[in-house]
Symmetry: C2
Subunit: 142 residues, 2 copies
Amino acid sequence: MGDDTAVNPRHNKAEVFARLRDAHAREVTEDYVEMIGDLIAEEGEARSVALAERFGVTAATVNNTIKRLERDGFVTSRPYRSIFLTEKGETLAKKCRERHRIVYNFLVSIGIDPEIAEFDAEGIEHHVSEETLRVFEKVAKT
Amino acid sequence: MGDDTAVNPRHNKAEVFARLRDAHAREVTEDYVEMIGDLIAEEGEARSVALAERFGVTAATVNNTIKRLERDGFVTSRPYRSIFLTEKGETLAKKCRERHRIVYNFLVSIGIDPEIAEFDAEGIEHHVSEETLRVFEKVAKT
DNA sequence: TTTTAAAGTTAGTCAAGGCTAAATTGATTT
DNA sequence: AAATCAATTTAGCCTTGACTAACTTTAAAA
Ligand SMILES: [Mn+2]
Ligand SMILES: [Mn+2]
Ligand SMILES: [Mn+2]
Ligand SMILES: [Mn+2]
């Protein structure tokens, strides 16, 4: 028999959703490394109390997440001390900050209110492919 | 003392992330009702085997999710029978399908490859505010 | 230097959303 | 009518990401 794609177009939605689940698995990590980078830049160090405040979660939640990030090699931390990005964390943070900036600027450039753009960009950034990002960049600078 | 917003701009990022977490809590529900609607339209009924295939998850996962959707009033189902949308489910499905369409068309309209647009739209749709959606619509039809 | 307050940690709980393996039910063939 | 196969359900497990409450450590005030 073979390829039935022509007659019965295979609904290969599955790939699309697999990628979506992948993106979700990376979201919290991406937002954390970006925020840790911001805190180091703005305040000289990243304390968990500041992360908790900015994310609007409890200190316990931050603690859990930092342990996971450490396990995955994105940060280092010692008890009761502040948090540092590893090389790997730094690299990811940089990429995410840049991507976030492009998405935000794009939204504003097409006429979305900056306040709204801030909200939407925080979610959209994690679902934008490289290709789309390049188009956003180009559109924004016209 | 009072309002220190002017001197030390309060990082009210917390609101942004709260909304992001909210969106995530709704994502699976949104994709399910939309897909159930699609299946009913295309195949006459929504069976869990079809949902499992299209989402690329196991039958057990579909079962869990359908129970949750039922608990939350979006679908009805009877053992070993197909799945139906409630009024509430129908309404949400319609809204999501429309939103999905707008996001997809917008991406294509600014020059993104349809295949890529399909991937990205599946994630982006859940993070687009009403305001942004209106702008997408307007931009796409120019 | 002691006391107190803030920050961080630990323990235990929960829901969502995945999985596998095994049991059950319904539909199709023989 | 039985046997078989496909679909569905159930049971049990796991990780993530959230919470509260209680405890410990560090830093700041008295
Ligand atoms: Mn971000
Ligand atoms: Mn984000
Ligand atoms: Mn969709
Ligand atoms: Mn989607």
